[in-house]
Every structure is written in C-alpha cells, then in structure tokens.
C-alpha cells in the first residue's frame, strides 16, 4: 500500500516538476513541503521538527528583511533569539488579517505593496496617471511576482504579494493535499473541470492558485473563461455601480446558466467515453448542475471515476448554500460520486496552508509539517484544542510577506481526527466567520433602517 502511494506521489511530482526547486537549493521551508510524501501522515515529532525549522527560518527572514514586520516585532519585544524550541513558536507576533485589507488607492497602492514586501522587489513600471488596482497588480505580476487577492465578499479585497517561490509552494501544496486525500483516484489522463475563473485570466487567488491543475491533469476546462478583475468582482459582489453593475450581474446570471449547460455536456461526453474526471472549485456550480439534472429526472454513475474538490465557499450564491453533508448526498444521488471522493478544502489568500477533508470523516486535516495552527480567544491568546475561537496560523512557507496571521474565521480544532487514523490536528468541517465589532455611521444607520422597513412584512 505504502509503495503504491509512494509511486502515486512520484507520478504526480513528475508532472509538476517545474514547481519544485532543485533539491540542493532547498531551505527548511522547502524541506517541509517538497520533502514529505504525505502531508497528513507524518509522525507528530518529526512534523514538529520540520515545522519548527521552517517557521523559525521564515521568522528570521521577515525580521531581517521586512521593515514593517521588524518594527512590529520590536514593539512586541520578540526577536529570533527568543524562538529556541517548538513551544516558543506561539511567541511569534501575529498580524491581524485586516492589516492586508487596509491599503490606499492609486500610486500609493503600489508603494503599499512594495512596503509590505519582504526583501528586494524587482523594478516595477506602472503606466498611467491614476493607476487602478488591476493596473498596479498587472504591473507587479509582469515582473514575475504574483500579487493575488481575495474575492472580497464584503467589497474589500485582501491583497497579498507573493514571489514566484512562495506562489509555487502554494500551488504545489494545494494540488498535493488534494491528490493525497483522494488517493488513489488521481491520474494524469483524467479530464478536469475547473469551477473557477481561468487562472491565466484572473488575479483572484482562489482561481490563480489552480494554474497547477493544468500541469497535473492532461485536459482542463475552465468554467469562467473571461478576464475577471477587481472591477468585475466589485460590480458582481457588492451590487454597487448602477447600470454597469446591473449589466454585469445580468451577464453573470446568463453565464451561470451557460456554465451549467456546459458542465452537463462535459458529464455526458465523459460518461460515454468512460473517462475519469475531476471537478475542482466553487460548489455552487455543481449544486446548480445537479439541481437541473434532478429537475430533468436524469442522473449519471461516476462512482469510481470522479473526484470532487470544493473550496472557496458560495460567494454571491450564498442564498443557495447547503450543508457539506447535503452537498455530498446530492452529488452521490445525481452523479454517483462516492462521498469519500467528494472533499472540501479550506484555505485563504493570506497563507499557503490548505486544510482538506479526509474521505473517512470529512474533518479538515492540517498540513502540520509547515503550518502551525492556533485557535485564539477574544483576547487573542491561544486556547488549544476542543474550543471554538478565531483561527490563526504561522505559515513556514511564505518568503515574500510575513504569513503569521490572525484570520477572521471561527473554527474548532481537535488534536486528532475522531474518525480516521491520520495523526495530526484537524478542524471541524464547517468554518464560519468570527463575529466582528460593528460601528455604524449615521449614514449606515439610515440605510439600514430604510432597508429593514422595506423588508419588514
């Protein structure tokens, strides 16, 4: 069994060779990612050693090469000398995720990106008198950097500047986590369907990080094959923008219908040709596909020939959200996909950690060889296992920005998975947003009250 798995990972590594740096140049961060075969089955002691070395290496890197983070550490009175053993890791100063949402516009946005970057950035040339976010990001990315951003459900994106090395790790880690948990279903000749924007036409992190999909699988179709930039997202997510927003929303609604039909055609073709298939991306599209098939009284049987990897939440389709259990049941009933081949991924633009559900219990397993997870209380102090709180992490793989982050998500972490025998920590399957402090200005008060009055039946 182990030999088979080793062979399985070897085949995957061969396909994605370009993401793996030469072994002689590996840093402790690279060892913790590329040097392990199964992220989720490393003996705890061994994983802690890898994790300690990777995180300490990155902490020293950011302390020495990032002025903003150096100042922050000085303020918190922590230096690399204070991090002597594994238990000291939690002393490392954490940056609230909101920090990466607090940026200026125009030319200052470019300078902001340069100022939060660790180390030297290449020369970036930005055209135009008043560059917008997309102009700035595209100029950075033209130099080989990968500036990507969150979908910004609230209308505010999180922007993270990655260098090529950091982004490669993220891509490799997401793909490896996915194929590890769906073992032994992966093979290069599968037909893939990406339920996300085409990674080559967007800088949205959830889409962009899927570029590796095109190398790991022989044939991939992207659901959204047009350019998706911050302006399009703003118009589709927040509803602001008047006539233009209406047009975009109308277009997106028509596009969703078209995507659903395309996916059904994809299912028909591959069912007929008996191909192995894999879907990766936003659950909404598959929900809409299976709903339509149910209405038509149709179904498929892809039992051992299909894997589904969901992630990224429901976004503008939040009103259609169903629980992960219901989702798996619907996929089994309509597409014949076994529940153990239908797993959800949890990750975020701020880090390279990809938590993925185990097929046995669907708990979210953490890649603990390079990623130190924490749950914090209301005073932002670690509270250990079995209690709900705010998710935070120390990411030992981010070279170009300090990936020591307090997220906005509420989780419960367990020391082991209650169902499977993988040794590392897990998160309970449903992750929610932590309640934030709210302040409404007078304008917001009025807006809210009128809206409530309108909605009040």
């Amino acid at each position: 069994m182990k030999n088979n798995f080793d062979e399985y990972i070897k085949k995957f590594d061969t396909q994605v060779q370009k993401y793996i740096p030469p072994k002689e140049n590996w840093t402790p961060s690279d060892h913790a990612v590329y040097g392990v075969k199964d992220f989720f089955r490393i003996p705890i002691k061994e994983a802690q050693e890898l994790q300690f070395k990777a995180i300490k290496y990155q902490f020293k890197n950011h302390y020495e090469n990032n002025k903003m983070y150096y100042g922050f550490c000085k303020e918190m009175k922590i230096t690399p000398d204070n991090i002597k053993s594994y238990i000291d890791l939690e002393k490392i100063p954490l940056i609230p995720g909101e920090f990466y949402k607090d940026y200026p516009n125009g030319k200052d946005f470019a300078l902001w990106l340069a100022n939060i970057f660790t180390g030297d950035i290449p020369q970036v040339k930005i055209k135009g008198k008043d560059p917008n976010f997309d102009d700035v990001i595209n100029s950075f990315n033209a130099t080989g950097l990968v500036v990507a951003y969150s979908s910004g459900t609230s209308g505010r994106h999180t922007f993270i500047p990655r260098d090529r090395k950091t982004f490669d790790i993220s891509e490799y880690a997401i793909a490896k986590a996915a194929i590890t948990m769906t073992y032994p279903i992966y093979n290069y000749h599968m037909k893939g369907y990406l339920l996300m924007p085409n990674p080559f036409k967007t800088n949205v992190f959830a889409g962009k990080v899927c570029t590796i999909y095109y190398d790991a699988i022989s044939e991939v179709t992207a659901a959204i094959d047009r350019e998706i930039n911050t302006e399009v997202i703003k118009l589709s997510m927040t509803g602001t923008g008047g006539f233009k927003a209406k047009l975009v929303q109308k277009y997106l609604s028509r596009m969703t219908k078209k995507i659903v039909n395309n996916i059904i055609k994809f299912l028909e073709k591959n069912s007929k040709e008996k191909n192995d298939i894999v879907f990766a991306g936003a659950p909404f599209f598959l929900y809409a596909v299976t709903k339509k098939l149910m209405e038509q009284g149709r179904s498929f049987d892809f039992s051992d020939k299909c894997a589904i990897l969901t992630g990224g939440g429901w976004k503008v389709h939040e009103d259609s959200r169903i629980t992960v259990e219901k989702f798996r049941k619907q996929m089994q009933d309509v597409l014949g996909v076994k529940p153990e081949h239908c797993v959800d991924l949890y990750g975020m633009v701020e880090g390279n950690g990809w938590m993925i559900q185990c097929p046995e219990g669907h708990y979210l397993h953490i890649p603990y060889a390079y990623y130190h997870p924490m749950v914090l209380d209301d005073e932002f102090k670690p509270i250990g296992f079995n209690k709900s709180g705010r998710f935070a992490f120390l990411d030992g793989t981010t070279y170009s920005y300090p990936g020591f982050i307090i997220s906005g998500d509420k989780v419960k972490m367990l020391e082991h998975c209650p169902v499977c025998d993988r040794p590392g920590p897990v998160l309970e399957p449903e992750v929610t947003r932590a309640a934030g402090k709210e302040m409404r200005g007078c304008a917001e008060e009025v807006r809210r009250m009128i809206s409530m009055d309108i909605g009040d039946e």
Binding site: K125, I126, T240, M439, D453
Partner: protein, 325 residues
C-alpha cells in the same frame, strides 16, 4: 450672490467622484422608487401605537456671546465660512472663547472642541442646517457634528476641512439581512451612493489631524468598540471606505443638503425609527460604560479586547517603483 469663481474655489461644486456617485445614485434610486411605489408606504409612517421620538434635552448651556469677542475673519482656504459652516455664528464664537481660543495651543484647543462636539452633541437624522442651529438644538447628523467641529476650529484660526467617504457595507449584517431579500438589497445598494460618512480634519503643527466626532462614547460602547480619540481615524478601525471614494473638501458641496431633505420627505417614518434606535443605543451604551466603571475603564477594556495589534506601516517611496505617465 456667490460667484462661479467662489463656488469653484470653496468647493461648493461637487468633486468628480462625488458628482459621479450622486448621478449614479439618483438614477438608481429613481428606478428603485419607480418600480416599487407600493413599498414606499412602509417608509412613510409609524404605526399608530408605535413609540415616538422625543429629542433629548441638550446637556449644556450656550455661553454668552459678546460682540467684542475675537473671531478669525479671513478669506484663506479652510479658514473662511462655507456652506452650512459659518464660524461667525454667535454660538460658535461664544463656544470658541469658552474652549480657550487664542489662549491654548492649536492642538489643545482642537482637542477640547473635539471632546465637546463628540460627547455633548447627539446624533439625530435631520435635514442639514447651519452650525448655530446645531449648537442650539444639541443634535444633528454626523455632517452637522463635523461642521460644528470645523466651525469651532476656524473661529480660532485653526484650518479645518471635511473628509468624506462611502463606507463598505458591514458584511455580517449585509449577508443576513440585505442579501436575504432582493428588494431590500436594491434599496440598500441604491442608497449607498448618497449615504456618505465623514470625519473632520484640523491642520495642526504642519499636518492634518483627523477628528471622528460622529459617535459619542455611549454609541461606541453599544457597538463594543473603543472610544475614538482626537487623531484616531475611523477608517481602517471600524469603518472601511470603498477604495477611491475618500474625498477631502473645504465645504459641504451643493446638492448634499437637498439629498437629506429628500430622504426626510421620502421616509419620515424610517427617519423617526432611526432616531429612536439611536436613543436606545445611547441608553444601552451608557449602561455598558457604567458597568465597566466609567468611560476610561471601558475604553481600556475595549482596547485590550481589541488586542490584536496591527503593525504600523509608513509608506515610503522606493526607486523600484517607477510611474510612467
């Protein structure tokens, strides 16, 4: 009669961004109203037995004004009277002297003015009017309050201006309430163009210092956040401005007052409910502050709870970023 030159100079003519939002909003709101006339009824009245809003009594006396009191008479930008903000109003001049105009340092004086406006003037949604009226009434929208602060500064020779922005929706509330109903979403989104938030800014020791005078301590306590101090910006702390919408202005522009009047006409019932809700927030916040042992200890607790410190970032220019115009 104000000349065109003066209109431009004093920024009575809306900035491009403001005009863009205003026109876009007018179009969007008109359409929403036109297609949802039936819903308008809900905004217009309160049920017969509903609780009514009674304006709270102001908790201060207006000091005596004497014509001999010194006041700045300048036509310099940010020191001259502008729309709804005439610092020559007797109430403003009298308060300015009470707060130590021309005696204290600019910072000390501005801090005193900030504390007074923030903690003694209450939020009430009502059409825009002059600063003298605001001091007499003791209430106003955040723009009344900002104007009161700006007028006090200008009266004492401290340059002051408006900082206006469109706020991002509060996600948690938006998801649970607004997105649940497409009609509500339409109204909410179309109002977003007009519902601007703001702060004041005073020019002290060579830099603009922000003054977030809108919420009094009780309202901030009701929201569970620390009490804003002079110089602390609401943006990035408890508000997020929609990128590209932050505007700095010498004056409230033409059209702004019209939109508040229109809103009052459109939704008088809703306005009253907002004001009632504000009074309830203040009451709730007062209790929270009392339970915490006073404003200072509440603020300490709230700041400790806020806990997660953010790094400070001073954006520096770098030769690695080249702008090619």
């Amino acid at each position: 009669m104000v000349s065109l030159r003066e209109m431009k100079d004093k920024e009575y003519i809306p900035q491009k961004m403001y005009a863009k939002m205003f026109i876009g909003g007018a179009f969007s709101l008109s359409k929403t109203i036109l297609f949802n006339m039936g819903e308008l009824k809900k905004l217009r009245k309160l049920p017969p037995n509903a609780e009514r809003y009674i304006r709270p009594k102001r908790d201060y006396e207006i000091p005596e004004f004497k014509p001999s009191m010194k006041v700045i008479n300048s036509n310099e930008k940010y020191l001259r009277p502008t729309l709804f903000c005439d610092h020559h109003d007797p109430e403003v001049v009298a308060f300015a002297h009470k707060f130590g105009a021309f005696k204290k340092s600019d910072r000390e004086y501005a801090e005193t003015a900030f504390e007074f406006v923030k903690e003694h003037l209450s939020l009430e949604i009502c059409p825009l009017d002059g600063v003298g009226v605001t001091f007499r009434r003791g209430t106003g929208t955040c723009f009344h309050l900002i104007s009161a602060f700006i007028a006090l500064c200008r009266a004492a020779g401290v340059k002051a201006r408006y900082k206006v922005f469109a706020m991002n929706m509060i996600q948690a509330w938006y998801e649970t309430t607004v997105e649940a109903d497409p009609l509500v979403k339409k109204w909410y989104d179309s109002m977003g163009y007009f519902m601007l938030e703001g702060e004041g800014e005073a020019f002290i020791d060579g830099e603009w210092v922000v003054a977030h005078v809108g919420p009094k301590a009780e309202r901030q306590a009701a929201a569970g956040i620390p009490i804003t101090k002079f110089g602390e910006d609401s943006i990035g702390r408890w508000f997020f401005a929609i990128p590209g919408t932050i505007m700095r202005m010498e004056s409230i522009p033409y059209g702004f007052s019209g939109s508040t009047k229109f809103l009052k006409k459109l939704a008088p019932g809703s306005m009253e409910r907002v004001n009632l809700s504000i009074l309830k927030q203040i009451k709730r916040g007062r209790k929270i502050i009392e339970d915490a042992g006073g404003v200072e200890s509440y603020d300490r607790m709230a700041r400790a709870e806020k806990g997660a410190k953010k790094p400070k970032l001073e954006i520096e220019k770098t030769q690695k970023i080249v702008f090619e115009e």
